[in-house]
Subunit: 327 residues, 2 copies
C-alpha cells in the first residue's frame, strides 16, 4: 500500500505539502502541485479514508434510522437518501429501530463512536435525552418536531382535508375515518385535517383508531362495516389500512366504488396495483428524503441554513376506489 510518505518522497516534497495539495488547503506552488500530481499518478496513490477520519473525525457516512424498512413507506425514502447522499460523496448506513428507544439509542451511540457525520431519523422519540445530547447534525423526517432539529414533513393536515373532500364531493353521506395511532404526530395531523373538512360538512361520520397494518385494519373495518351498513365512504390514514378496508369490503360483498368509496393516504406503489386502483393522497416521499439529505449535508458541512421546517406538498391521485364527480 502506498502512503502519503511514499508520494512525498517521490515528488521531492514533504508530507505536509502533499496533504495540502490533496486537500486543496493552504499554499502549494504550481511546481509542487505538478510534482505531487505526477507522483500520485505514477504510484497510483489512493488516500486512506480511515486514517483521515482518525484526524478529522469525519467519515462521509450518514445514518438513516427508520422504524422498519419493510414498511412500504420507507424503501422509497431510503432510495432518495441514498441517491442524494451518493451525489455528495456520502454513504448511507441503514438502521431499523422498530420504534424501540433502546435500539435507537444504541445505534446513535455506536455510530457516533465511529465518527458518523449525521443522522436522518424517523422516530417518535426525538425529545428523548439521547437526542438532545447528541451534538451531531440530525434531520427529522415525517415525525416529531423539535425546535432544535430541522424537520421535513408532508402537509399532513391539509392533505387529509383534501382527501376528505374527495369523499364529500362524491356525495358520501356517512364517512368512516380510520385514524392512525395516537402517538404518531402525522397521524394526529391527518386527524385534524379530517376534522377541518368534515366539521361543517353536515355529513355523518365515525372515527376508529386503526394501526397502519393490513390485517389489523381488515379486521377492524370488517367489524365496523357489519355494524354500520350505512357507511358509504372510508378515509384511511394510510394506504395500507385502506387496503385492509378494501379487503374487508370485498369479503362482505360490498362493491367499491358503487356502494362504498375509499381514499387512502401515502401514495405507495401498491395503491396502483390494487383493483380497483386506490384513490389516495400521495406524499412525495422521494422528495422528502432528498430534501432531508440535502439539509443534513449542509449542516454537516457547516453551511448555515436558518430554515427549520420543510413542508412537502401532497398530491391527490384519483383512481378507481372513488367515483367520478357527479354534476
Amino acid at each position: 500500500m502506498t502512503t502519503i510518505r511514499d508520494v512525498a518522497k517521490k515528488a521531492g516534497v514533504s508530507v505536509a505539502t502533499v496533504s495540502r495539495y490533496l486537500n486543496d488547503s493552504g499554499y502549494v506552488s504550481g511546481d509542487a502541485a505538478k510534482a505531487v500530481a505526477a507522483a500520485v499518478k505514477e504510484l497510483k496513490y489512493e488516500l486512506n479514508p480511515v486514517a483521515r477520519s482518525l484526524n478529522t473525525k469525519k467519515t462521509n457516512l450518514i445514518g438513516l434510522i427508520v422504524p422498519d424498512i419493510t414498511n412500504p413507506f420507507f424503501p422509497e425514502l431510503a432510495r432518495a437518501v441514498e441517491d442524494v447522499a451518493l451525489t455528495y460523496g456520502y454513504t448511507v448506513i441503514l438502521c431499523n429501530s422498530d420504534e424501540n428507544p433502546e435500539k435507537e439509542k444504541n445505534y446513535l451511540e455506536t455510530l457516533k463512536k465511529k465518527y458518523i457525520d449525521g443522522f436522518i431519523v424517523t422516530s417518535n422519540q426525538l425529545d428523548a435525552p439521547h437526542y438532545a445530547n447528541m451534538a451531531l447534525p440530525i434531520v427529522a423526517l415525517d415525525r416529531a418536531i423539535n425546535e432544535h432539529i430541522p424537520t421535513v414533513a408532508s402537509n399532513n393536515r391539509e392533505g387529509a382535508a383534501i382527501g376528505t373532500r374527495v369523499l364529500l364531493e362524491r356525495n358520501c353521506k356517512k364517512i368512516l375515518f380510520l385514524r392512525g395511532p395516537e402517538e404518531l404526530n402525522p397521524a394526529n395531523d391527518r386527524y385534524e385535517g379530517f376534522m377541518d373538512a368534515i366539521r361543517d360538512a353536515g355529513v355523518d361520520y365515525q372515527i376508529v383508531v386503526c394501526p397502519f397494518h393490513f390485517a389489523d385494519s381488515e379486521k377492524i373495518v370488517d367489524e365496523v362495516l357489519r355494524e354500520h351498513k350505512d357507511i358509504d365512504g372510508i378515509f384511511a390514514s394510510s394506504d395500507v389500512s385502506a387496503a385492509g378496508a378494501l379487503k374487508a369490503a370485498s369479503k362482505l360483498g360490498i362493491n367499491v366504488p358503487d356502494e362504498l368509496q375509499v381514499v387512502g393516504f401515502d401514495g405507495i406503489a401498491m395503491g396502483a396495483m390494487l383493483t380497483p386502483g386506490l384513490t389516495t393522497v400521495a406524499q412525495d416521499v422521494y422528495k422528502m428524503g432528498a430534501i432531508a439529505t440535502r439539509v443534513l449535508i449542509k449542516r454537516i458541512e457547516n453551511q448555515v441554513e436558518e430554515q427549520h421546517f420543510f413542508e412537502v406538498p401532497v398530491q391527490l391521485k384519483i383512481r378507481g376506489t372513488t367515483r367520478s364527480v357527479e354534476k
Copy 2:
C-alpha cells in the same frame, strides 16, 4: 476524550496491557485485569473504533448491494441482513446499484478503501473482473453463481414447477407463462421449472417475456389476453408481474379465478393485499438474507465453511386467484 493511555496511567500499567485486556489477547494477570477494569470504569473509557480500524483494517461494517431497495423484494432482505448483522455486532451499508456495473464497482472500491469487512450482493455482474479481484469476503444472493463466491438462493426451478402444477391441477387448458428477463439467472431457473412441469402435461401453453414491472406487465398481458381468449391460467415469474396480469384481466372484464387463474412467484406482502389474494410461490426472503449474513460473517471471521451453495425452500401460498381443486 479519554484514551487508552489515560487508562494505562490510571491503572498503573502499560498501554499494551490495557489493549491486551480489552481484546482478551495475550497474557494479562488477574491483578492487572482488575486494575484496568477499574480504571476503565472510573474514566468511563470507550474504545475508539476508528483508531482500531486503522490498525486492524476491520470496521464491523458490511455492504448490502441491491439493484433497487424500492423493488418490493428487497426491503425484507435488507431487514434480515440488518437484524442478523446487529446480532453479531455489524452494521449495514445500503447500496443501490440499479444493475449498473459502474455503480457497483464504484461502491465496491470506495467501501473497500474504508476497510469495510465484506459484501452481500444481488447482482448479475458477479463474474465481472472487479469481483474477482476483490480479495474481500462476498456472498451472493439470489442471482448468479460463481464457484468462488458462496451463494444463497431459492430452489427456483422446483418452485416454478410447483407453481405450474397448481394451475394444471386446477384444470387449466391453456397456460400463459410470463417469463422473466433472460439475463436473470433466477428467471431462467423458473423457466426451466415451468418447462419441467408443463412438458408432458398435455396442455397448451404460451411463453412471453415480461419484465418484473407492474405497468409493463399489465400492458403485455392485456395484449396477449385480447389476442388469445382461450388462456385460462397465467403463471407469472414474479408477484409484481402477476399483479399486472390481474389488473389487465380486470380491465378486460375477465373474472379471476372463474375464467382465469393466476399464480405468482416471490411472496411479497402485497400479494395478500390484492383482491382476490394472489396465489403464489413464496420465497423465504428473510431466511435468505439471514443465511447470507451468517455465511458472510463466518467468512469475515475466518471460520472455515466448506459449503458453497445454500438453497432455501420455497413455500406455496394458495389464495384467491386460484380455485379450489375439483375432485
